[in-house]
Amino acid sequence: MKRGDSLYRRLLGWLLLPLLVLGSLILIQAWVDAQRTADRAFDRLLEAASLAIAEQVQWQDDRLWLDLPPAALEMLATDAQERVFYSLVDRQGRLITGNALLPGDPRQGAEDEDTLLYRHIDWQGLSLRQGVRRTRVEDWRVREPFEVRVAHSREGRDALAARLWRANLAMILAMAALATVGLLLAIRAALTPLTRLRRAIRARDPRTLAPLELSLPRELAELRDTVNELLARMRRVRANQERFIGDASHQLRTPLAGLSARAELALRQDDPMRWKEALIAMQATSARTARLAVQLLSLTRLANPEYRPDRVPVELNALACQAVRDHWASCHRQGVDLGVETAGDEVWIHGIDWLLAEAIGNLIDNASRYGGRCVTVKVEHCPPRLIVEDDGPGIPEPRRMLMLRPFHRDRDDLAGSGLGLAIVDGIARTHGARLQLSTGHDGRGLRVVLQFPGDTS
């Protein structure tokens, strides 16, 4: 067995794969979140520092004036010792003071509004987070807008983000481990009924066909019911076989007992003429018995579902003519009028010629045996059909299906075996053909139709 063919592995794979994808997504999300949280926390520093600087900006001697509070700059550096930059820029974008001319707020906002912008910038090869505060000096006469731009490097943020993410990572990994363990246990538990079913089947007596009795989850209960149905069918088949064997032995015992009785009777007599009569009668009985044995054999063979003889193209017209030729002499002796009606064109089907010939023979034999005086074999085209019709007494509608069962005879007669129609039915099934019994064309007799599948090809 291939490794991948295990149900356990397949379930595990299909459950772990989405779990893995989900886990990766959560990790990415956690990373983005950690960075966002770190930025939010550290942006407060930019806000506070820019505010501390902006508060010190004054209008003095007709220009912007700043008494820079060192604490504002120290605020921007945490334990991570970030690089710190600041600049004060007037309305024309001129640097009033600062240690770096940082880029400004590109947005064109209303001049009266205080705005604060956070963003990432790359400045002289350094990756910085910048805060730009746009505000203005409010004096008695002067309203002078300006921008305070502060920035610091990202070490503190990155360290915090990494710390947050690591904390999350540990939790996510722990959860993933728990989920995996849970998954393993769940799959194992879910597959337990399957093991139980297997054990139940293995523990049975191989000869018993009794239904499986154990409670299972719905999906497996269906399987159990299907197996039980199969077992029931097998029980029926076995019962049929047993009955058939019983019938067959009964059928063979009767003529054999007759033979034995006849021989005993003849031996008590001394007249050779009696012996001859007895011998003639015994010959007829043994011939009938031999025919019965042949029929039983072919019926057994047809009833075997694994019996699949090779089919070859067969031309029905020729087959029908040949069958009529073979049986014409015996019918003629019994005073039966045997005729054939072929189709205009050749009718080809896939079949086994000798089985079909046997079917036609059986039907002709049946018809002549049960009172038909005029028997006609017909071949029809489109759909391909083989029909044997007689003008005998026929079979009443309700009894027709019974006639298909072996050893069922319409009335007691010693000459018939009761197997003819059963054999024809078996042959029809072997060919995938439909067997229809109906009344003859003028309301008399029996019409047996073998309708073959497909067109004439």
């Binding site: 010792q81 690089r83 003071t97 240690n99």
Partner: protein, 358 residues
């Protein structure tokens, strides 16, 4: 450590000491030992006088004879401007102008040093692993013994303020301090002190009242004190004072008890250093126990290395002065020192307060 021994004196012979006053271009040069394998060079630009630098360079060269060392002593301003003009000239920059050094590192001009010594360097004495404070120099007062005898002990800023306010007449023109307008160091101290206490402005006013003389350098102040022109010096660089006043018993160095600023010399390796490996070795040496021991014993600069104890170390000074020591923080606050408007604002205030007292 063996003071200039036979080995050291051999190197002394090789030193070419060029002093050219016109361009203030003083250099020390230690060529690589001829038998020490492939030679590399090292160019150090520093604002540190040769007598103090010499033992450090000698110690380094003894450990690394394959490195040809050239040291150039510049003023802090010249050093900064020279770097901006030619950022790929020097391998190590060493300057007491903390703000300028910080600004260079902040803008990404410095290269990180990842040696174990750098990892263990105290966090307050470095910025990232790019900027290292290597010295620990308190800002001190120098008081003539005569003043103490006449007016009592001067232990801290409060004493000085009281002295100036009570005896302004007696001290007219006999007090000296930095002029923040012309001296970078003086300006830095002023800005730091104004942040430490609002009473600083009272002190400035009192200094103004005493018609305090304003000087540009510690050396200038020390000259006046030694000559007796001044009786009290305020805000002198302790390391220089200690060296110059070793044989001046009438002048007492006072490390203030209430608070004492401590300035540090900052070293960095420029990103475009031509010999980064040698530069890393040198900086690593400066912050190593060996280098710091030289600093403590053979210079008045004050060693920072936490493992060192005894005279000339930060540890000893901390034990003596404890919480009063206020090392100037190596951080973005230094950038405020360089802000032009801030400078203008502070100097205006300073001059106003100074004039108020007159």
């Amino acid at each position: 450590m063996n003071r200039p021994s036979r080995v050291a004196s051999r190197w002394l012979l090789l030193i070419s000491l060029v002093v050219t006053h016109a361009v203030a271009d003083e250099t020390l040069h230690y060529p690589a030992a001829p038998d020490s394998g492939p030679a590399t060079s090292l160019v150090v630009h520093g604002a540190l006088d040769l007598p103090q630098m010499q033992p450090l360079l000698e110690g380094f060269h003894r450990q690394n004879p394959d490195v040809a060392v050239r040291y150039r002593n510049l003023t802090t301003l010249a050093l900064h401007e020279r770097f901006l003009a030619a950022p790929d000239e020097a391998d190590v920059l060493l300057s007491s102008a903390m703000a300028w050094q910080y600004r260079l590192a902040n803008e990404g001009h410095a290269r990180a040093l990842a040696s174990p010594a750098a990892q263990h360097w105290p966090a307050w004495a470095r910025w990232r692993h790019e900027l290292f404070a290597i010295t620990f120099e308190p800002i001190v007062m120098v008081v003539n013994q005569a003043v103490i005898e006449r007016f009592g002990e001067v232990r801290g800023h409060a004493d000085l303020l009281a002295l100036l306010e009570r005896h302004a007449g007696a001290l007219q023109g006999r007090v000296v301090t930095y002029d923040p307008a012309t001296s970078g160091a003086g300006y830095t101290y002023a800005i730091e002190e104004s942040r430490l206490s609002p009473r600083y402005w009272d002190l400035v006013a009192a200094l103004g009242k005493a018609e305090t003389a304003l000087a540009d350098t510690t050396a200038e102040m020390l000259d006046g004190l030694i000559e007796g022109r001044y009786l009290v010096g305020y805000n002198l660089l302790g390391s220089y004072a200690q060296e110059r006043l070793a044989n001046q018993p009438q002048l007492r160095i006072v490390v203030p008890e209430d608070y004492a600023l401590v300035t540090q010399r900052l070293a960095l390796i420029p990103r475009q250093a031509p010999h980064p490996q040698a530069a890393e070795r040198f900086l690593d040496y400066l912050i190593s126990e060996t280098g710091q021991t030289v600093l403590a014993r053979e210079t008045p600069l004050g060693a920072i290395h936490p493992a060192l104890d005894g005279p000339g170390t930060a540890t000893a000074l901390r034990q003596a002065r404890g919480e009063a020591l206020r090392p100037i923080a190596v951080g973005p606050g230094l950038l405020a020192t360089l802000d032009d408007l801030k400078r203008e604002a502070l100097l205006t205030r300073w001059q106003r307060e100074f004039a108020r007292g007159e």
